[in-house]
Structure formats: structure tokens, C-alpha cells
């Protein structure tokens, strides 16, 4: 039982990371019908920016561990958001009227560019996060010893997701984003500046991905310039699992994938961890080709 709950909470924490990254894929797909292949690399950039800021600013001494991590998260999210918006401006907007394949190639090119840039700046070897940022303590929950960082991670991803959900569902801009994802032309007829909507999506998605990168750095303690590839693939899987283009779907898909992976690794075989996740994906897509939450209502009647 102890092992089950440890794996479950670990799976939830990792699933939260997948969900945060998956949101970026799904939101961009929603408005542009494009898979932003460079998204995983924005996650990597978040992790490296976190490392740089952490080691160069000495925040922990001045603000204490929690304050430092909070400020760090805000800075990383802001910077990665700016990089995301620049990516859209430079790599995608000029190709808006071109065939779909051009944008896909541009996305792949941007991914290679980011990966190489990180490697040139930080080197190809693993880099280590300072491990004395957050106190290495465990919290007792119903007799279960759960590492504090795991709880913080889970809380942070839930908080970010709730904030995003409220923004998308309750605000005027959020409604405009949903409308533009359904029918860009009709959205324009409403007076919505779709270019602006796309820019906002490229601010939000990458900022969530950047936050996830920082969290992975803090949780596992080491990062590498190729990490975005593995996490990106998992998060992309999660987005498909939940129904690509569907925001709650990306959240559910991410969490589910994290939990399945963790439990699969514990009870079946750690070597089969990734294979299990993809088998689940294939099974779900056979039963529900649109993903778990995809296309609940016919959009064209």
C-alpha cells in the first residue's frame, strides 16, 4: 500500500508536468492547427533559464527558499513567454498563408535551432541544479511520508491549471481564444483580432512549458539539452490522449499518463515504462479516436 501511494503521488506530480507542457501543444493546435514541434525545447529553455537565474542571482539567500522559487518561477515564465511570442512572430506568422507543411518544417527547424542554441551555450553534458534550494523534508500525510517538493510541484501545477481554466472559461479574451479555435473567420467577424489571440496563446503555452522545465530541474536536480524531446513527446502523447485542441483534455491526459507510467513502472516493469504509456494511448485511440474529451459536441450541424 505504501508503495502504491508513493507511486501514485509521484505519478500525479510527473503527470502535472506532462499536463503543463501538453497545454502548450493543445492550445497552439487549437488556434493554428499546427503542432509546435519547438514546444519541448521551450520547456528545456525554462529549465536552463531557471538554473542560470538560480545560480547567478543568489535569490535563496535573500528571499528564503519559497520566496526564491516563487520569484524564479515568475521570471522563467515571463522570459519563456517572450521567447514563445518571438518564435510565433519569426517562424510561424510569415507562413500563415502558406501550405501547412511549410509551417511544420519551420517548427522542426525552430526545434533544432533551440536545441543547438542550448547545447552551445550550456554544453552537452548534464547540468546540476543546486540541491539546497528547497529543504529536503518529507511531509506526513495520513501516515505517508511524501517529499515536500513533490507536494509543491503538484500544488503548483494544479494552481496554474485552475488559473488557466478560469481565464479561458470566464474572461472575454479566454472566450475569444476558444472562438478563434473553432472558426477564425467567424471570430474575425466578431471584431476579434485573431493575430493577437494567437500571440496570447504563444505567451501562455510557452510560459506553462517554461514553468514545467523549472519544476523538473528542481525535482530531479539535473537537466540536459535533449530533455525537451522526451518530455515533449510524452506531453504530446498526453495532449492526443485527452483530445488535441481540448484544454481540459490536455490536463486530464497529462495527469493520467503520469499516473499510468508511474504505476506501470512499479508493478509491471520499469524497463517497459514508456511502452506501457504508448500502449495505453493506442488502446484509448482505438476506442475513442478523438481522444478522451475530444469533440464532445458536433461543431458543424
Amino acid at each position: 500500500m505504501e508503495q502504491f501511494f508513493q507511486q501514485l503521488t509521484n505519478g500525479l506530480a510527473v503527470g502535472g508536468i506532462y499536463a503543463l507542457i501538453a497545454l502548450g501543444y493543445t492550445m497552439v493546435y487549437g488556434v493554428l492547427k499546427l503542432i509546435n514541434f519547438a514546444h519541448g525545447d521551450l520547456f528545456t529553455i525554462g529549465a536552463y533559464l531557471g538554473l542560470t537565474l538560480l545560480t547567478s542571482l543568489g535569490l535563496a539567500d535573500r528571499l528564503g527558499p519559497l520566496g526564491a522559487v516563487l520569484l524564479l518561477a515568475v521570471m522563467v515564465m515571463g522570459l519563456v513567454a517572450i521567447i514563445g511570442a518571438m518564435l510565433e512572430r519569426i517562424a510561424y506568422r510569415p507562413l500563415r498563408e502558406s501550405p501547412r507543411l511549410s509551417a511544420v518544417v519551420s517548427a522542426l527547424g525552430a526545434s533544432i535551432f533551440f536545441q543547438n542554441a542550448v547545447m552551445l551555450i550550456y554544453g552537452a553534458r548534464f547540468r546540476v541544479y543546486p540541491h539546497d534550494i528547497l529543504p529536503k523534508i518529507a511531509v506526513n500525510i495520513f501516515g505517508l511520508q511524501i517529499p515536500l517538493i513533490r507536494i509543491l510541484m503538484l500544488l503548483t501545477s494544479v494552481l496554474l491549471m485552475v488559473a488557466l481554466y478560469l481565464f479561458i472559461q470566464r474572461t472575454k479574451i479566454g472566450t475569444a481564444i476558444r472562438a478563434a479555435a473553432i472558426d477564425q473567420g467567424a471570430a474575425r467577424l466578431m471584431g476579434i483580432d485573431v493575430d493577437k489571440v494567437i500571440m496570447i496563446v504563444f505567451l501562455i503555452g510557452p510560459s506553462l512549458g517554461g514553468a514545467a522545465g523549472l519544476m523538473v530541474g528542481l525535482y530531479y536536480g539535473q537537466i540536459n539539452f535533449t530533455m525537451g524531446w522526451v518530455y515533449g513527446l510524452k506531453a504530446f502523447t498526453a495532449a492526443i490522449l485527452g483530445g488535441i485542441g481540448n484544454i481540459p483534455g490536455a490536463m486530464v491526459g497529462g495527469i493520467l499518463l503520469g499516473v499510468i507510467e508511474a504505476l506501470g513502472a512499479a508493478y509491471i516493469s520499469i524497463a517497459w515504462k514508456d511502452a506501457i504509456a504508448f500502449c495505453v494511448l493506442i488502446l484509448i485511440l482505438i476506442v475513442r479516436p478523438t481522444g478522451l474529451l475530444g469533440e464532445r459536441v458536433a461543431e458543424k450541424v
Binding site: 472575454k172 472566450t175 476558444r178 472562438a179 472558426d183 467567424a186 474575425r188 467577424l189 471584431g191 461543431e299
Partner: protein
């Protein structure tokens, strides 16, 4: 003229769809544009709304050029459209669809008043305000598309085939509502396949054929015009 199109040309790729359209719409009028499928009626409305690019000619509203604006800026000049095929946002609620119609508006008091008016025009929409638009019937979706356009409090309402695919009784209701909207001071440009109903409602009309305007007259004159009767009214007397 509230709206004036002069020598308007529009291309899709290399193919020209409009070969120099000129038409005018006066304040308070209902002007209908008739023509067979593919004549270029929707293209004309989309050009006014800024959704297709104008390659030559001009669109002016009270002497302000519209053809140089982006689509979302045209709405701010008081021009709203209910597009062909309705294009409501299916996974958003009726309420959210209507709210989006007022996206450019800032005066919340005005928005509430417009919403109340739309609910008196289409009581059905109020009953279904929390329902997803995609679950509405075709007629209700058409009401929503018109209501959504009205939420912008436009001076000019562009309607593209509002009777498309609706049962005859519903068509009658929709046309009566269009008259009511016009009486409230909204100028209407009405594109229709249902030529007879459109001409009975409109003050003036234009007839389009393959990207050109071939006829322009008062609605009454068009109704009794033998050519129009043969081509668009099934040859019978009005």
C-alpha cells in the same frame, strides 16, 4: 451613402470572382443582392467585412475607406455580418456566442440593452441561453447568428442567406424579424436565394451574374421585371 462599393475586384488565387462591382446602400434601407449560386454574393459581403482581400476598387462607409482595414477593424465601423451557413461557435453556449458579438463594445449598459432587445426579437435564444450553440436547431442557429451580429450594435447588418435550409414557416418569421430590425434603424444588406421573399422585404435590389452586377432597381420594379421573373421567380407573377 452609408455604404458605397466602387469598381470592386476580388481574386481567389489567380481567379477573379468579382469583376468590378459598384453598389450603394443608403441609411435606413434594406438592399437585397440576388443571383444564382456562385455569382459572387458571399464574396461581396466578405469583401465588405474584410475577410477577403480587395484587389482593385474601393469600399467606403460615410467616406471612410474600409477596404484597407483588417476584418476586426471593420466591425468597429458599425458593420456586422451573419455569414452564410451561420457559423455559430458550436461548443460555446448561446450566451457566450452573443457576448462575443459584442466583443468590440465597451459600454456594458448598452450591451445589456441590446441583449434584452435581441431576446425580445428571438425569445427562443433566452430559453436556451446556457445551451451549447451546436445543439440548437437550424432555425435557432440562424437566430443566434443574427442576434450575435446585432450585439455589435451595427449601423449596417449584412445577412448572407438567412433562410438557407429553413422550413417555410421559419423563413417567414426570420423575414418579419429582419423588417423589425430595420424599423429599429439598422440598415440591412440581404443576400438571398429566396428572391421573392427578399424583394417583398427590400426597398431596392441588385442582381448579380458571374461576378458582375447586371441589374439594379427598386424592389417593386424588379418583382415585375420579366427577366427577373423568368430567372429568379420561377416565371410566375409576383
Amino acid at each position: 451613402m452609408l455604404l458605397k462599393l466602387e469598381n470592386l475586384h476580388v481574386k481567389y488565387g489567380n481567379v477573379e470572382a468579382l469583376h468590378g462591382i459598384s453598389l450603394g446602400v443608403g441609411e435606413g434601407e434594406i438592399v437585397t443582392i440576388l443571383g444564382a449560386n456562385g455569382a459572387g454574393k458571399s464574396t461581396t459581403l466578405m469583401a465588405i467585412s474584410g475577410l477577403v482581400k480587395v484587389s482593385e476598387g474601393s469600399i467606403l462607409s460615410r467616406n471612410a475607406p474600409l477596404h484597407t482595414l483588417k476584418a476586426h477593424e471593420v466591425v468597429r465601423h458599425g458593420i456586422a455580418q451573419s455569414p452564410e451557413g451561420r457559423r455559430v461557435f458550436g461548443t460555446l453556449t448561446v450566451n457566450e456566442n452573443l457576448t462575443l458579438g459584442a466583443f468590440t463594445a465597451t459600454d456594458t449598459g448598452r450591451i445589456q440593452k441590446t441583449l434584452a432587445w435581441i431576446y425580445t426579437l428571438f425569445p427562443r435564444l433566452q430559453e436556451r441561453c446556457e445551451q451549447m450553440a451546436g445543439t440548437l436547431s437550424g432555425g435557432e442557429q440562424q437566430m443566434l447568428a443574427i442576434g450575435r451580429a446585432l450585439m455589435a450594435a451595427p449601423r449596417i447588418l449584412l445577412l448572407d442567406e438567412p433562410s438557407l435550409g429553413l422550413a417555410p414557416i421559419l423563413v417567414k418569421t426570420i423575414f418579419e424579424t429582419i423588417r423589425e430590425i430595420n424599423r429599429a434603424g439598422v440598415t440591412v444588406v440581404l443576400v438571398e436565394q429566396n428572391a421573392r421573399a427578399a424583394l417583398k422585404l427590400a426597398h431596392r435590389g441588385y442582381v448579380m451574374e458571374v461576378g458582375r452586377i447586371v441589374l439594379e432597381d427598386t424592389a417593386e420594379a424588379l418583382l415585375s421585371n420579366p427577366e427577373v421573373r423568368n430567372a429568379y421567380l420561377g416565371g410566375q407573377a409576383a
